[in-house]
Symmetry: C2
Subunit: 258 residues, 2 copies
């Protein structure tokens, strides 16, 4: 690529999160960066979009670096739509989302605002990567991920991500220097068992907190969970055709005429 | 099935929407019904879940019919989690979601609260169906859909939905009596082109409304869009393993060591 690529950066933890600040630093070394990110945390927003209320978007001044930054009142998917269709002069060459504070491996991809932003870009025909670290803390070590984020992004730009595919990249939570490498994986078949923490408000009204336990019974060695458990970075190629093609034949045997 | 099945009913338009009231009427003829639905409209919520705020849930009294009803302050996915893990005595035999006011065909499945509820049930191992009508109006004709909703649900109970598959059922908007039949389909490859309607508030602040145009360039005769366009009901078997298995080999040729 002769000229510098145009890179859209977003996330779901909000524009001030350490994870996105690290991602911006890395992208500034690769291309021209436009940031469009939520003005407040939007975790677990799935692929929500804002259709019944208004969206605000503000261009930030006094930004620390060469990038252009906007903060937006919407969801991660809103940010990407707004960036591509309203704020940017041309389509970005790539969209990167994250680095998320917390895992988006396995079934978490379904609930993930980080990945919904990347998938939205993918739907709109833009190569996209979601990055996540298996560490929820605001003080997590993002610094040591920088060389890997750069390598993966440069590979994606040079080799092209397959059409209609979005990369879901997760980093293991291991001590500095202990990442063993990168593995291309499939999504592990796992799920959450919910526990609702039932409480009573000062006014005597019952309410719930959603909590849960992550259950992975998938013992496959080719899964993201296996890679992460072994200290590897997992990359799952992810797509947005949800058709279960293998089930079509079976459903065609059903009798709707009786 | 000797005893009456236990049926969980939910939606994303809210518990008072005509679509869910129709669905409840049909399900009362098939089994024992528990309704857990949002207390306000939650359209386009994707697979959002509520983890950073509290959930309220109220059992309704004076309900018109044999069903048990709860309204919940959360998203459609929250409703399903709460129903299965907190409110119901045993796992439901099936979960039905809808009937949505508006299409969830093609790429709309990604943004759909209706389908996220059904998919959440699927993830938790419960057979599930999302029903949607291609008519946004509150006054849409749901009445004539009843025989089809019943047929599809009874087939799902008798024949079993394949494991880890959720049915995405869409009804065409055609005059009463003009539905031609049912087709098993794949998700059409389509997308939205957004147009942001930029306005100014009375206080002089810019804001946006998200609007868009649906673009379907997929000419396949086996797609949901083709079936619906021809006056047929579309059923797409949908799954939640987002792995693009075909892309794994290509990604393994990337060089991360350079």
């Amino acid at each position: 690529m002769a000229k510098r690529p145009l890179i859209l950066v977003t996330n779901d933890d909000g524009i001030t999160a350490p994870g996105i600040r690290t991602l911006i630093e890395v992208m500034n070394t690769i291309g021209d960066v436009v940031v469009v990110a939520p003005d407040s945390p939007q975790s677990a927003m799935g692929h929500a979009i804002t259709i019944n209320s208004t969206l605000y978007c503000t261009k930030l001044t006094g930004v620390d670096g060469p990038q252009i930054e906007y903060q937006c009142s919407g969801t991660p998917a809103d940010c990407v739509k707004l960036a591509i269709n309203e704020l940017m002069d041309r389509k970005p060459d790539i969209c990167v989302s994250g680095i998320n504070h917390g895992s988006n491996s396995s079934i978490n991809v379904i609930y993930s605002g980080t990945m919904s932003a990347a998938i939205e870009a993918g739907i709109e025909g833009i190569p996209a990567i979601g990055f996540s670290l298996l560490d929820y803390r605001w003080t997590a070590d993002f610094e040591s991920l920088k060389p890997y984020v750069e390598k993966i992004t440069r590979n994606a730009l040079a080799n092209k991500i397959p059409t209609d595919v979005v990369l879901n990249v997760n980093f293991p939570k291991v001590p500095k220097g202990k990442i063993k490498g990168i593995k291309i994986c499939r999504q592990a078949k796992a799920y959450w068992v919910e526990n609702f923490d039932k409480r009573q408000s000062p006014m005597g009204r019952d309410y719930y907190w959603l909590t849960g336990e992550f259950i992975n019974e998938d013992r496959g060695e080719d899964t993201d969970e296996a890679a992460l458990g072994g200290g590897y970075i997992s990359i799952v190629p992810t797509h947005f055709d949800l058709t279960a093609h293998h089930a079509i034949q079976q459903l065609n045997t059903w009798d709707f005429d009786e």
